[in-house]
Symmetry: C2
Subunit: 137 residues, 2 copies
Amino acid sequence: MTDLAAVLRAHGRRLTPQRRRIVEALTHLGHATPDGVAAQVGADGGPSVPLSTIYRGLEALESLGVVSHTHLDHRAPTYHLTGHADHVHLVCRGCGTIDEVPASAATEFVARISASRGFTADVTHLAVHGWCAGCRP
Amino acid sequence: MTDLAAVLRAHGRRLTPQRRRIVEALTHLGHATPDGVAAQVGADGGPSVPLSTIYRGLEALESLGVVSHTHLDHRAPTYHLTGHADHVHLVCRGCGTIDEVPASAATEFVARISASRGFTADVTHLAVHGWCAGCRP
DNA sequence: TTGAATGCAAAAAATTTGCATATTG
DNA sequence: CAATATGCAAATTTTTTGCATTCAA
């Protein structure tokens, strides 16, 4: 991804092998917590990367819009590539299962808050909590 | 709220003064992190309550459906009374401002995922990230 | 009475930060 | 070269847990 290097360079940041591996890890995993990213990075054959570098790398990449994060469950920020397929997560409060639906399901909702508040919502990886068919109260 | 005592009792749990004060704190604050709840509880005139009790109390109340929580920002679970007015939070990634819109704005969205996945979404206090009018990219 | 809850204190997790050193551009 | 990142270790912050004691029902 020369593209990635370009994005970083454009902001005076640098593409280091660690950052490249973080992006590769996310490409491979889809979603992952900082800890999960570190594990995947450590499993890619190269030397392990300290968590502090993972955190700083994710922070840098997020500030440039390359990755973003959401909170799928209680205490766990999960990161993903911003370009990753748009979808909304349906998190069941009963069994904890996480289902996904295309982000397009929220189109009307997004348009509505844009019209009423001028707010541009990013429903990519939006986490919606509730109950799945089996746990429906 | 004798009602509260009843809910707890119905599950073999007890209504302690600490729990009552936690609920009062949330009633007063609307939303708050465990830390914020502790601060408010400590400011209500009574003796301070250790964080561990706050955590265990919120956990117990949440398991009974009295309170629920969401993640409005990066690392901070915010709790609120489940009966608290339904609204969706619009969290700006630019300036961090948090706006609110009635949960009814998501009616069509909720119906759609209910129809397609049988998922009963609870959009109360749903946190939608994006950019407010001023920070729109 | 009697099991659920509290209070402390200590243990775990999860993040962040300081700094000397290594690297990218 | 010069400024940005990394690695490590140490410091924070946040949340959880063990247990003797207290208290609600």
